[in-house]
């Protein structure tokens, strides 16, 4: 697929070789595509299907099963706020409401400038730092409104 960089293509070729059956490389290949493009467009799904000898529907059913895989572009910073129990006990609802008010978007939405997408997620495995969220692949814990201001101000 022309829109992928040679670097990503090389990484994909290497990852496919690691598995005894190339179909097993589907998840890592999808991760690599999403890392570069930001989501997994239909044409990439078709390309992956051909690469791994899979029916396009098999790729689609995997993309739609796993919550981390996205079919549409999102904001530059993906704010994922944990809504599970330990975080709820530590005030995750207030944290979410603060972000909703601050960014003027609801969970599942992206700000008009394309900077932020807000989503709620299930347990992130950082309960000792509750309430927590991820901003792209970085973890932030012990969130307070002041700390959120600081984190968001620190982003480009």
């Amino acid at each position: 697929m022309s829109s992928l960089s040679p670097e990503t293509k090389n990484k994909i070729a290497a990852v496919v070789k690691r598995y005894p059956h190339k179909q097993a490389a589907l998840l890592p290949v999808l991760h690599l595509i999403q890392n570069e493009i930001g989501f997994i467009p239909e044409e990439s799904q078709a390309w992956v299907a051909e690469l791994l000898d899979l029916q396009p529907a098999r790729v689609k059913e995997v993309v739609t099963f796993y919550t981390m895989f996205l079919e549409k572009p999102i904001g530059r910073y993906h704010l994922q706020v944990c809504s599970n129990l330990s975080c709820t006990l530590a005030g995750a609802n207030d944290i979410l409401n603060y972000l909703i008010d601050k960014l003027k978007i609801k969970p599942g939405e992206t700000t008009a400038d394309g900077r932020f997408t807000l989503t709620t997620v299930e347990c992130l495995g950082a309960c000792e730092h509750a309430p927590c969220m991820m901003v792209n692949c970085d973890y932030y814990g012990q969130l307070t409104p002041a700390k959120i201001d600081e984190i968001l101000d620190g982003l480009e």
Binding site: A25, L27, F65, M68
Partner: protein, 417 residues
């Protein structure tokens, strides 16, 4: 437990322990050397069996017994899958092992693979732990360079490749057969058992699946022996557990303690007790799937048997502490929302039942309660329990039933108009 009795986490304070050089300076890979150069696979299996090392992921199945189920004579390749999915809400212990001491996990993998005759191991790590996955990749590259992985490890003629495989945000993939499906590049739909993975697992080949913490215990059993291991823990339940405490306690975090430690002590001594002004209401003792205990029920020891006798389970060792101000309806809302979201959709009782319960709870939370709501929830939960392919159905039904049963009076308040 004194600092000296810890072994899994005792080196965590060392700077750059994740680097091979530092790990080697602190006795790293000595167990692998002993296992590969001085022991036969059958000796290792006997030692791990005698140690009564029970699985640290949730089910608590004895690791040595599991390994023993793998056929010795087979034409097929055998695989090891390390379960690093760590999706059980409240659980964050494996993250510490992998980020602080990735080589300990690799050393455990080497010994396990050598014992069972495996040459390909996969670490299935949850997608969100991307940074930790990168750390593991680096550790694997370092180990390979120094001859601890790859071909002819330590000149023992034993070969092993380890591959890190990231999930993509699906709780169900922590279930061992869903993990296998996911590793094969499919949706994480659990398989019907039997056949068990030990005979028909990854790519239809014999497969061992163990949790990160379980594997991390193996090098210590090899170095110090089964007798020591059962002395640290309990005879039937050897070693320590890394408990993760979260909720309104003064010191949330991980605590490595011997099996058999009191739950009360864990919360009030190790985790510092409740935060200022907070009073204990209930405890979920083994991850969100473990049935809740009331404040009056926490005077028990943390081991598999005691928790089962108390009507709950030790699970992943994740202890979630709940305070008096928390509404149990809100807990029920979070619990039912989680399982409704994470049901893979394969079995009808789980797919429909948990969502149905969640809808009722949401209606209750919005003040639209009806008199028979609690009975309906209990009836639906009972219709899920034991009627699904995998344990997710039970994992949803059991905590819901326990909350409804133990906090009936409080919840009844929400059912009135």
């Amino acid at each position: 437990m004194t600092e000296k009795e810890k072994y899994l986490t005792s080196l965590f304070g060392l700077k750059n322990l994740h680097q091979l050089e530092i790990y080697l300076e602190n006795g790293g890979y000595e167990a692998a050397k002993k296992a590969l150069l001085e022991m036969k696979p059958t000796d290792i299996l006997a030692e791990v069996k005698a140690a009564n090392l029970r699985g640290r992921g949730g089910a608590g199945f004895p690791a040595g017994v599991k390994w023993g189920f793998v056929p010795k004579e087979t034409d097929k390749p055998k695989y090891l899958c390390v379960n690093a999915d760590e999706g059980e809400p409240g659980t964050f212990k494996d993250k510490y092992i992998m980020s602080h001491n990735p080589h300990l996990l690799l050393e455990g993998i080497i010994i396990t693979a050598y014992c069972v005759g495996i040459h390909h191991a996969f670490i299935y790590i949850r997608g969100e732990y991307e940074m930790i996955a990168q750390r593991l990749e680096k550790a694997i590259a370092e180990a390979k360079k120094k001859g601890f992985l790859g071909q002819n490890i330590l000149h023992s003629q034993f070969d092993l490749e380890v591959i890190v495989h990231r999930g993509a945000g699906a709780y169900i993939c922590g279930e061992e057969t869903a993990l296998l499906e996911s590793l094969e590049g499919k949706r994480g739909h659990p398989r019907l058992k039997p056949p068990f993975p030990a005979s028909v697992g990854l790519f239809n080949c014999p497969t061992v699946i163990n949790n990160v913490e379980t594997i991390a215990n193996v090098p210590f059993i090899i170095l110090k022996g089964a007798e020591w291991f059962t002395r640290v823990g309990l005879p039937k339940d050897g070693g320590t557990r890394i408990f993760g405490v979260s909720g309104p306690v003064k010191k949330p975090g991980i605590y490595e303690l011997p099996l058999g430690t009191s739950l009360k002590e864990l919360i009030f001594t190790y985790a510092g007790g409740m935060r200022e002004g907070k009073k204990l209401k209930a405890v979920i003792p083994g991850g969100l799937s473990a049935p809740i205990l009331t404040a009056e029920e926490i005077d028990i020891t943390l081991d598999f048997e005691s928790l089962v006798n108390a009507g709950s389970m030790l699970g992943s060792g994740a202890v979630i502490v709940i305070d008096q101000e928390t509404s149990m309806l809100d807990v029920l809302r979070v619990v039912s929302k989680f399982y409704a979201h994470e049901s893979c959709g394969q079995c009808t009782p789980c797919r429909i039942g948990v969502s149905w319960i969640n809808k009722i709870v949401n209606r209750l939370a919005q003040g639209g309660g009806q008199p028979d709501d609690l009975e309906t929830i209990a009836r639906l939960a009972a219709a899920i329990k034991g009627k699904t392919l995998c344990p997710l159905g039970d994992a949803a039904a059991m905590p819901i039933l326990a909350i409804v049963e133990k906090f009936k009076d409080e919840l009844l308040g929400s059912t009135k108009h």
